[in-house]
């Protein structure tokens, strides 16, 4: 059955054009029939690094699918601590675990992440950064390395962010494979306390689109808590029907 995608008419014309272009790229990147061995819905990274910043982060996704038991009732949680090393580099270390319908929550593995801000915000037509990730999943004894190109651009009160990732998975017991993922976000800067967003995720047999909300609660001495919550709806048969995504990020100095 053909999938018809429309971009809301409330977007500025250039956003609409870019949105259609991005959806076209997502359709190309989406690999029908690919093994759904990874949860694609996670978060969309911005390319910015603040010197001296430290953070504690919790992220969770919960998947549901009425047709595929492997995709149903899967919950993945991730806890990370991070800090910046300069005004260009930041690093974070995560522990993550998951539970499924048949298995209670179990610690699954760990991940190292490094973000590199390439350009100054607003200097060029778009802002650029890179993300490097190395993950080890202990139950499957599997490694995964990923390199992600991050780009962000402003259109008035809209901010568009794109993450394009190339991943390589390897282990002794499973087939080694290359994968690609595309994550897109359109954010409307309504107020610091509430920003509506639209996110799209494509890769590893998943093509999903859905609304996400974000807000920031500020505290003394430049500390802040950023929350995000949203639902990504699968728009192809192979995709999970719905994926709930939640995140809390506490930033301090």
């Amino acid at each position: 059955m053909p999938v018809v995608l429309t971009v809301p008419t409330g977007f500025p014309p250039r956003v609409r054009t870019s949105g259609l272009l991005a959806l076209g790229c997502a359709a190309v990147l989406w690999q029908p029939g690919a093994r759904a061995d990874g949860v694609v819905v996670d978060r969309v990274y911005d390319p910015y690094v603040q010197p001296l910043e430290k953070e504690i982060e919790w992220r969770a996704v919960g998947q549901g699918d009425s047709d595929d038991d492997a995709l149903d009732n899967l919950q993945l949680q991730r806890l990370g601590i991070g800090r910046s090393f300069s005004d260009r580099w930041a690093g974070e270390i995560y522990l993550f675990g998951q539970n499924t319908e048949d298995q209670n929550f179990d610690f699954e593995g760990s991940e190292l992440e490094a973000k590199w801000q390439l350009t100054e915000q607003g200097e060029y037509a778009a802002d650029w950064g890179m993300l490097f990730e190395l993950e080890y999943e202990r139950n499957r004894q599997q490694w995964e390395a990923a390199t992600t190109l991050i780009s962000a651009r402003e259109w008035g009160r809209w901010t568009g962010t794109a993450n394009f990732a190339v991943l390589y998975e390897w282990s002794d017991d499973y087939v080694n494979e290359w994968e690609t993922q595309l994550r897109l976000q359109a954010r409307y800067r309504l107020s610091p306390k509430f920003e509506p967003m639209l996110e799209l995720y494509a890769g590893q047999g998943t093509l999903g689109l859905g609304p996400v909300m974000r807000g920031t609660k500020k505290f003394r001495a430049a500390r802040q808590l950023i929350w995000e919550a949203g639902v990504i709806l699968g728009i192809t048969e192979e995709s999970p029907d719905q994926t709930l995504r939640l995140s809390l990020e506490y930033e301090f100095y």
């Binding site: 910015y48 603040q50 010197p51 001296l52 915000q121 607003g122 500020k218 430049a222 100095y253």
Partner: protein, 109 residues
């Protein structure tokens, strides 16, 4: 050979000059947890290069939701922030480490 090097150096200086002259430049200073000047007038509809010098020994964060900018400047250092192009109007900013004292606004006209 020397002449060739001189030509290259001259070309690079020219390129750097042209590159640097791309955007109007405005300077801002943080001293005793205050922004000086507290009002910055910039041309409307033009991208501006803002250089913020932090003269205090402690860090400060230039923050403005209206400008969509957030930048920490380590004590004794400087940061470059590109803002705009801005529609005519006023855009408040503040220092997130000292929000009661460090306040200012960009006026685009």
């Amino acid at each position: 050979m020397v002449s060739c090097r001189k030509k290259i150096a001259a070309l690079l200086s020219l390129a750097a000059g042209v590159w640097g002259a791309g955007y109007p430049q405005v300077e801002l200073e943080i001293r005793d947890h205050l922004f000086t000047p507290s009002e910055l007038v910039v041309p409307a509809n033009t991208k501006v290069k803002l250089i913020v010098y932090n003269r205090d020994p402690t860090p400060e964060e230039f923050e403005s939701y209206q400008l969509n900018r957030e930048k920490v400047i380590i004590g004794g250092q400087r940061a470059i922030i590109f803002i705009g192009p801005l529609a005519p109007g006023e855009y408040p900013f503040f220092g997130e480490f000292n929000p009661k004292t460090a306040q200012g606004k960009v006026i685009a006209r």
